[in-house]
């Protein structure tokens, strides 16, 4: 088992002419961590990954692996593994030759290359596939070959740029499980790029939310989900009902009463000068009778969608203010229909304050 490398970005930035692909970014990835970069298209995820691999020369700052500055080192001497979105297998080489490629570059003896290739193929459950050409494999199989090729030389750091992006949903979920298993087995640090928040949340120890070439927030997935730092993070990770606050005043010990732009009166915990507050759809209870929560509103169901295991309602509570409410299936004691008059409510503790 490899010891994972630590990784540090020190004010790394990248500009292409007038385009800023990456604002100065500082971040630390711990040894052996599964770290995901999550963000919309064009947010600079691949650029950040490219600075580690050496494909992108940073315009400023430096990248440190295990404390050593690698910014000026050419890619072939960095000893980093990488899996690409379209797998990037060499089409003119067999599966075994593909996996042997990095070992040949390292001038390992023939017998050891053969042994290691066999072991790598076993690891990704493709024993016996060695003589095939990549084009003769399914997408999932090619992906596993790419993984074997990236791991066969035991790099302490593995980069993955949307490795499951080209697979269909079921296969993707299967591969997610496999990748987690893989991470436990090899012990390398993994930096994983994705724009699928579900994927990031289910696989990573920590995630960084990227937007406009900047890491907006870094933390464990549940932390970031429960305590989003700003409105972008709150919206990007799951759904959020967002309120723009007009003013607030203390109301009892540790309580803050706020007035929203729609003139709703909300009770929240703590004191803040933040401009926004949000509540997650699944923290809101819904029913035909008043809910008895600290924040309680009457409204009307304008829309409902059944999704696996829950129902997603839209409830209009004031002119220009529609809340999204997610009720899990077993809570749905009373069946609500469109245009029903309902009551919704949530606790003050479920309110989160956000910056813009």
């Amino acid at each position: 088992m490899t010891r994972g490398a630590s990784l540090e970005f020190d004010r790394v930035s990248k500009t292409y002419g007038a385009v800023t692909a990456l604002q100065p970014t500082s971040m630390t990835v711990r040894p052996g961590e599964f770290f995901a970069l999550l963000g919309p298209s064009g947010s600079g995820k691949s650029t950040l990954l490219g600075t580690i691999a050496g494909f992108v020369a940073p315009s400023g700052g430096c990248v440190l692996v295990d404390g050593a500055d690698i910014t000026a080192m050419p890619p072939h001497r960095r000893n980093i593994g990488m899996v690409f979105q379209n797998y990037a297998l060499f089409p003119y080489l067999t599966v075994a030759q593909n996996i042997a490629f990095p070992l040949k570059m390292r001038r390992l003896p023939k017998s050891e290359i053969a042994a290691r290739v066999d072991r790598a193929l076993e690891m990704v459950r493709l024993g016996g596939f060695g003589p095939r050409m990549p084009a003769q494999l399914s997408g999932g199989q090619q992906q596993r070959v790419a993984l074997a090729r990236a791991a066969v030389y035991d790099p302490p750091l593995l980069l993955m740029d949307e490795p499951l992006g080209a697979l269909d949903k079921n296969l993707r979920e299967e591969m997610q499980e496999e990748l987690r298993q893989f991470h436990r087995n090899v012990g390398a640090t993994i930096l994983y790029v994705t724009h699928d928040q579900q994927e990031a949340a289910s696989m990573a120890d920590r995630i960084a939310i990227m937007n406009h070439g900047k890491a907006e927030q870094v933390g464990a997935p549940h932390e970031v989900y429960e305590r989003p730092g700003n409105s972008f993070v709150a919206r990007f990770l799951g759904e959020a009902n967002m309120f723009r606050l007009r003013r607030g005043w203390p109301d009892g010990p540790g309580r803050l009463r706020c007035e929203t732009e729609e003139s709703l009166n909300l009770l929240a915990c703590g004191a803040t000068s933040a401009a926004l507050a949000c509540v997650r759809p699944e923290d809101i209870v819904i029913g035909p009778a008043p809910t008895g929560r600290e924040n309680c509103f009457a409204g009307r169901v304008t829309d409902l969608v059944q999704v696996a295991g829950s129902v997603r309602y839209r409830v209009a509570v004031a002119p220009g203010c529609t809340l999204i409410v997610r009720a899990s299936a077993e809570r749905r004691a009373v069946v609500l229909a469109k245009d029903d008059a309902v009551h919704v409510g949530w606790d003050a503790a479920d309110m989160r304050f956000l910056s813009e």
Partner: protein, 290 residues
């Protein structure tokens, strides 16, 4: 409930895209058959039917006269021209393939534009440069490389230079096309997997450019086999190639059967080489042109 017809009687063949294309292809096919295949067939027939039926023309080619030597010389020149073209075109194509926008268009214009000047004019131009008291000889003497003007015309060197000049675009264009299609991620993968620049070229770039190499090589080699004007002007008299031989037999000796037989042999050699090459390289040479 409406009853569904249980039997569907098909009155016409369903239209498919393939059928539409087949119709479109009919006219050019007819054109080729009448103006290309038929004359070719007549050449082959004449070589075995005249002056009397049999393989007499072929035994004559094989066992007498300069025919075999000239055919071998043709193959040799074609091979040299192809090799020289590849050596010159490969780095140029690799650089061009990395260009974009205006530079790429300029480069393509230069390459394609060179096809607009006729081979005759360009061969005459070389003749003037290469003649006994031409610029090249003057330069050689002035630089002290040669003591006196040397013979350049009527040598293989002159013919090869002239043919490379004309055939270079046919090597460049498929090379550039296939190099531009190389997935940059494969090169990145090679680098991060540990390949230094030299091994990256040998292990990744070159194999990925092979379709272009194959296509260019076949195009240039086969074109060289049938080249006439350039070898005639630059090699004239002392340096003979197959096409010149055919022309000489037909126009000077009026021996159409022998001319036909030589042409048929040249055609057969071309076909055999093309098929054998396709087998060895295991590529569809038309693929890289798509």
């Amino acid at each position: 409930m409406d009853a569904q017809p249980s039997v569907i009687i098909r009155t016409a063949r369903p239209w498919t895209q393939g059928r539409g294309y087949a119709l479109l292809a009919a006219v050019p096919c007819l054109f080729l058959a009448v103006l290309f295949v038929w004359p070719l067939l007549r050449v082959v027939l004449r070589s075995v039917l005249e002056p009397r039926p049999g393989i007499g023309n072929y035994t004559k080619i094989m066992f007498s006269g300069p025919y075999v030597a000239i055919l071998l010389n043709t193959l040799e020149v074609a091979a040299i021209v192809t090799g020289v073209c590849l050596l010159i075109a490969y780095p140029v194509a690799a650089l061009t393939a990395r260009m974009n926008g205006l530079r790429l268009r300029l480069m393509t214009a230069l390459i394609v534009g060179s096809l607009w000047t006729s081979a005759v004019i360009r061969s005459y131009a070389w003749m003037i440069l290469f003649q006994r008291y031409g610029i090249v000889n003057d330069a050689l003497v002035a630089l002290g490389i040669a003591d006196a003007p040397v013979r350049i015309l009527q040598t293989t060197t002159a013919v090869v230079i002239g043919m490379v000049h004309i055939l270079l675009p046919f090597m460049l264009l498929p090379l550039i096309a296939s190099m531009r299609r190389i997935d940059p991620n494969l090169l990145r993968a090679g680098r991060i997997l540990g390949a230094n620049p030299v091994r990256l070229f040998l292990g990744v770039y070159f194999p990925l450019s092979l379709p272009g190499v194959h296509a260019g090589t076949v195009l240039v080699f086969i074109s060289s086999l049938g080249f006439f004007i350039t070898p005639a002007l630059l090699g004239g008299g002392r340096m003979m190639m197959a096409a010149m031989l055919i022309e000489q037999q037909a126009n000077i000796y009026l021996d159409w059967p022998i001319a036909s037989a030589v042409a048929t042999v040249l055609l057969a050699i071309t076909l055999v080489l093309y098929i054998a090459y396709g087998r060895i390289a295991r590529v569809d040479v038309t693929r890289s042109l798509r």
